[in-house]
Amino acid sequence: MTTADLILEILNEEIPSRMQLNAAEGFKVAFVKKLAELGLTCGEATCLITPRRISLHINEIPVQQEDRIEEKRGPRVGAPQQAIDGFLSSTGLEDLDDCEARMTDKGEFWFAKQYIKGLNTAEVLPQVINDVIRGFTWPKSMRWGRNTLPWVRPIRSIFCLFNKERVSGHLDLGSDMVPLGTVTYGHRFMTSGELQPIDYFSYRELLEENYVILDQTSRRAKILEGITALAEKHNLRVRQDEGLLDEVTGLVEWPVPLFGRIEPEFMVLPEEVLITSMRVHQRYFALEDETGKLSPHFVLVSNIEPKDGGEAIIVGNERVLRARLSDAKFFFEQDKKQPLELHGKGLSQAIFQEDLGTMAEKTERMVQISQFLAQHLQQDPTQAMRAAALSKCDLMSHMVGEFPELQGIMGFYYAKLGGETLEVSQAIADQYKPKGFQDELPKSDVGRIVALSDKVDTLVGFFAIGIKPTGSKDPYALRRNAIGCIRLLETMNGLQIEGLIKTAYEAYAPIFEKTAATVCTLSELIGDLREFFFDRLKAYWKEKGVRHDYLEAVFAVAEQDAFEVIGKRVEALNSFLNGSDQNGEKLLAAYRRASNIVRIEEKKDQTTYDDQVNQNLLADEAEKELFGILTKSTESIEIDMQQHNFQNPMKVLADLRPHIDQFFDKVTVNADDKNLRENRLRLLSLIRGTLNRVADFSKIEG
């Protein structure tokens, strides 16, 4: 079949950087899917994106749709003639003889086959383009002029070639029509006039000649290369910042790095302030010297090769940065005038959550929870309580007002300057950690205590008044919060969450008395939160690649476990069953042989065989031996369980395999003697019971 390639470029007003990568992928997928729906299965597709263009290239699209047969369901057999006639006329058929009567699960219906002549792809494309663009969703979209089409920013023109030829048609914006044209344009400033590529090769080449690096990956690489080289020229290194690099890639079509200076007077500011100020407001890259110390320089990436070599751009940017940093320095000096504690006065005016009181009240609760946690860890609670009491004060500082992302960090600096201990200061800095599974934990016990008290307080409060994540909606990031809790709980020396939740819940008492919201009971809350935590834990292990049936097996027996113990169970089970030796298979075989028959007999007898084996009823050598080995292992298994060493019991039971096989070879379980039979079932049940203390192996599949 003859195929051809399609180039479609949407020239756009500037697309927000953060949306570009997803849009390129989504647009490509949507377009290919739409073609496939029309019977046009295509070859490789790529979508490149810059701030101003979405550029799709699809190879090997058939130039013509196949002729096809579509089947249409008509009325029920025996339907009134009027309905039959309507159906026939809608299908263009003359007679019911051309239709087929077929039974479906809803009854017997008439079906008509229609032969549809395939169209030229070039004729189909304008509709495809309109449908895909109209159906595409951006995180945020807008309308412009008198048009109705929602899109990220106004579309200015479209360049489209199929099979190296113009596609005749328009994009209908709702009022204006954008022709599918055969010209495009280069860089906004560096070049002017229309470009007329004749194929994809010349399209790419013309754009490059006209100062557009179309491929986001190359553009990113070029920026990284450029800023690295510029830094090296001054014997400096770029402070790594992948997020900023991504953002800048989406801000320029023709990146040109330039080198600027920071006035030495600003270098007294904390490093985080300087970096945040440069990054958030200005998108500058910070530089460091060979010792890793922040250097009084920055690199900016401009979008043009300036006529004057960059003089004006550098002067301008340095001026802006000076103004920004003067503000920051002013804030820093103002903030330092009073101790951190006094900044916190404003917390009684700041709302934590509409129905849950103020930040000052939250802080009080955090102090109580911190005390509880410190006592659980058998530590003097003074430091943790102090850190908790000061933790939110920096939210009221000028600096955090200006740069919310510096929360915690500024608290650290102001606490240290105010003479707080390093431990307290560091705990304030670390209170928002860990942000997810990858992030590091707070450095000290005090830090972990304060971080946990913050997170638990939020979760307990929100859940108590019924604010929970639903589906994809989690506006308060409670899922991430729960993950933080889980990771922190793992460091809390086997702390059971019930006690922690109870402490947090009771700390809310004054709020719950006056809130307008409906508050659930403590036991409801514990149930809800336990389930929520378990869901998060499962998600965590699943993401790490643990099979879901292994997780079901562990969670079936982990009801009373501290989270760290659950983790140990999961890891032990996963590594045992996935090990390269045969132990996993041996264990499962042993378990199944032993448990299947017990399960079946239990069901038949409507009873369980979990009670003790009667040694005096052991008749056969093989069963005596099996029981002997099991009994001998019991003591070591007991110790293993207490130490949460879950590998050993599995190993011991895997090694029972030959004895179990021998047992089944030599011993008849369903003996005629009722007592012997029951005792043998109890022996097998003992194997099952022992293993069930590690995980419920009946949940494991295949």
């Binding site: 007003e13 500037e14 927000p16 950087s17 953060r18 701030p51 945020k140 979209s141 807008m142 309308r143 412009w144 002029g145 008198r146 048009n147 109705t148 920013r153 106004p154 200015r156 204006d176 906004r188 400033f189 560096m190 801000l251 320029v252 200005q282 900016l300 401009s302 979008n303 043009i304 300036p306 006529k307 004057d308 004006a312 751009i313 002067v315 301008g316 940017n317 001026r319 802006v320 940065l321 000076r322 103004a323 003067s326 503000d327 005016q349 700041a350 709302i351």
Partner: protein
């Protein structure tokens, strides 16, 4: 070559946009926080009728006052406001031409359109667009209005708001707003921004941070609210709207004076928004 004076920048922008068919208006004579509040923006953006206008709007932000001592922050700054309805297809090109009219050469200066969506909770208004950067300085807010007072707009207006101080500082290469050359004159006629406005900055900072009588502000606020609703009843959209922006400014004054707690803020904003909504509704009814 002498750089453009502050007033020359205004002249050129007025000429440029006047030549594009904009109605050249004068600043609105009620205190507002931004050019958007000018009825020529908010009200004219409603409904189907085309409208293009430009004007300078002194914009009062009591909270930003610094007694004339901060080189960048002002209680009153100046916006050059352009409203184009419906937004023309070449609006970005027109905007760039307006920069060229100010001798800003986009081959020397790095001009960038950086995502910045605009929202005014007091007006119940929002739009999408960018902040326009010139060499890292935000010089213009560029917005496609989508909603005002909760009404979806059709056609959509483009609003270009040049921050004149921010724009002129790099043009004149000045670090301090008070050093800006206002009129380009020499000798005793030479006037800087400081000569023109420093005293007003100092005195209004004193007023908004120290001397404004808060009970009176609250009383005025409630009076304006009441009057607004009465005028809405009488279907007098424009006078009603004056009371709405008065209420908004009074709220800003109370806020600067530190008597609006964080908890009360949302409810004040909601009250002003309710007024704006009522005015816009009447305005639309009477179109």
């Amino acid at each position: 070559m002498r750089s453009l004076s502050f007033q020359e920048v205004i002249f050129r922008l007025q000429k440029f946009w006047g030549d594009q068919g904009c109605v050249l208006l004068q600043p609105y004579d009620v205190e507002v926080g931004a050019g958007t509040f000018h009825p020529a923006t908010v009200l004219r953006a409603l409904g189907p009728n085309p409208w293009s206008a430009c004007f300078v709007q002194p914009s009062r932000r009591p909270k930003d006052g610094r007694y004339g001592e901060n080189p960048n922050r002002l209680h009153q700054h100046h916006q050059f406001q352009v409203i184009l309805k419906p937004s023309p297809l070449n609006v970005q090109e027109l905007y760039l031409d307006s920069l060229r009219a100010l001798d800003i050469d986009p081959m020397v200066h790095d001009i960038r359109f950086v995502e910045d969506d605009w929202e005014s909770p007091t007006l119940g208004a929002s739009g999408l667009g960018w902040e326009v950067w010139c060499d890292g300085q935000e010089v213009t807010q560029f917005t496609y209005f989508q909603q005002i007072a909760g009404y979806e707009l059709s056609p959509v207006s483009a609003e270009l708001t040049y921050g004149l101080e921010r724009l002129v500082m790099p043009i004149q290469n000045k670090e301090n707003v008070y050093d800006l050359d206002w009129n380009g004159a020499t000798g005793e006629k030479a006037m800087t921004y400081g000569d023109v406005f420093r005293r007003s900055e100092r005195e209004f900072s004193g007023y908004s941070f120290e001397f404004a009588t808060t009970d009176l502000l609250m009383q005025h606020f409630m009076d304006a609210e009441k009057e607004c609703m009465k005028l809405v009843e009488a279907k007098l959209a424009l006078p009603a709207y004056d009371q709405c922006i008065k209420a908004s400014h009074l709220f800003n004054l109370m806020d600067a004076r530190g008597v609006v707690s964080v908890m009360e803020r949302p409810s004040f904003i909601a009250r002003v928004r309710a007024l704006a909504k009522a005015c816009c509704t009447v305005y639309l009814e009477q179109l």
